[in-house]
């Protein structure tokens, strides 16, 4: 009695056996088991039928045309010609090759120059336009934690604008157009939570 694994192994190679594609040793093994196993006998009968069907199919196949090889040669020559013509641009025309090399060289140099000269700038609150100062000015230093939004609101409240700064020490010069508003502005700035220092600029 065959184990089920052995049976499946033999079944799996029956198509190869029917076609004579296994070694003599394997073939002998198959024959030994086939003799006792009805299932294997039926399967082999089936595969022999398939083999016979294929024999008929093979008879019906057309013969390849005799000129296929000539066409293959023509196509290979054509591919060679195309390949050569592409390479000839680089290798056979010295002016073109030199020009291409120079272009690539300059491109690389240009890119390197651009990358190393990039300046990473930080934007700070400052005057938006340059014009001659006509009003009065106040020196202001804002606290470090003062937000841009709050600073803008405060400057708007006193009807002023930044005319200079920030300096290295963080000093801003705020311009006030009307003289009578200057004292009020100074008062508001002095009392503000975000202002560290506010004083008349002379």
């Amino acid at each position: 009695m065959l184990s089920s694994k052995k049976l499946e192994d033999i079944r799996a190679i029956l198509p190869l056996y029917a076609k004579g594609l296994i070694s003599d040793e394997k073939a002998e093994e198959v024959e030994k088991f086939i003799f006792d196993e009805n299932l294997l006998q039926r399967e082999l009968k089936f595969w022999n039928g398939v083999k016979a069907g294929y024999d008929k199919i093979k008879k019906d196949f057309p013969e390849p045309n005799n000129n296929i090889y000539a066409k293959i040669c023509t196509q290979i020559q054509e591919r060679k010609r195309i390949k050569q013509s592409i390479w000839s641009l680089y290798s056979l025309n010295p002016k073109f090759s030199f020009g291409l090399i120079m272009f690539q060289f300059l491109l690389i140099i240009g890119l390197l120059f651009y990358i190393f000269n990039l300046k990473y700038e930080y934007r700070t609150l400052s005057t938006t336009e340059i014009r001659a100062e006509t009003g009065y000015t106040i020196n202001v230093i804002f606290k470090e934690n003062a937000r841009e939004k709050d600073i803008r609101e405060l400057i708007k409240k006193i009807d002023g604008r930044i005319v200079d700064g920030p300096s290295k020490t963080g000093l801003y010069v705020i311009g006030i157009k009307e003289k009578d508003k200057k004292e009020l502005a100074l008062d508001i700035l002095s009392k503000s939570d975000i202002v560290l220092f506010a004083e008349n600029a002379y």
Binding site: A12, R42, W47, G53, P64, I68, I72, Q75
Partner: protein, 182 residues
């Protein structure tokens, strides 16, 4: 086999005579392999031309871990599948082959068996037909089939099993008497 490997080495060195010799040895099998997929002479020839052009151009990529014919079949298969995808009507052509009425084939002589299986094989899907073609026409072992189809050995065995089951089903639908050959 040794000769084929030697020819490939000569092709790598640009020997056109070696290509002609390799073509002589392998072309019939490759032609049948492609034809069994596309069932069209002109298309088969076009794919043949491209296959051997690729053999010439990529001979240096042949690693020698399989038969040369197996390697050429791999190239032919890729090109054929691309062509089938392009045309997309091959499946219909294969499945629309003649219809047969049940009970038509009750009596089976040896000659009839051959004819019936021939007809049933033509009705198999490309996937199933292909694997049986490789074994019964091209006499490939499971290892070689595995390399051509790029699938594991166990998948080859499983696919053979399902091809057989499908073939039985087709034969039954054709009205073939079960005792005739299974």
């Amino acid at each position: 086999m040794y000769e084929e490997n030697k020819l490939i080495k000569q092709i790598v060195e640009g020997d056109e005579e070696a290509l002609r010799r390799l073509y002589e040895i392998t072309s019939r099998s490759v032609y049948l392999y492609i034809f069994s997929f596309v069932n069209n002479k002109e298309l088969t020839e076009d794919i043949m031309i491209e296959t051997y052009t690729q053999v010439w151009l990529s001979a240096k990529r042949f690693k020698g871990d399989s038969r040369v014919l197996t390697w050429i079949f791999g190239i032919a298969r890729n090109l054929t599948m691309n062509e089938i995808k392009k045309r997309d009507n091959m499946h219909n052509e294969l499945t629309n082959i003649e219809q047969y009425q049940a009970e038509q084939f009750r009596l089976t002589s040896e000659k009839e068996t051959e004819q019936l299986i021939y007809l049933a094989l033509k009705k198999l899907s490309i996937k199933h037909r292909e694997i049986l073609d490789l074994i019964f026409i091209h006499e490939m072992t499971y290892e070689e089939v595995s390399k051509i189809l790029n699938i594991p050995l166990n998948t080859v065995k499983t696919r053979v099993f399902y091809a057989k089951e499908k073939l039985r089903e087709i034969l039954e639908n054709m009205g073939v008497n079960k005792d005739a050959f299974f």
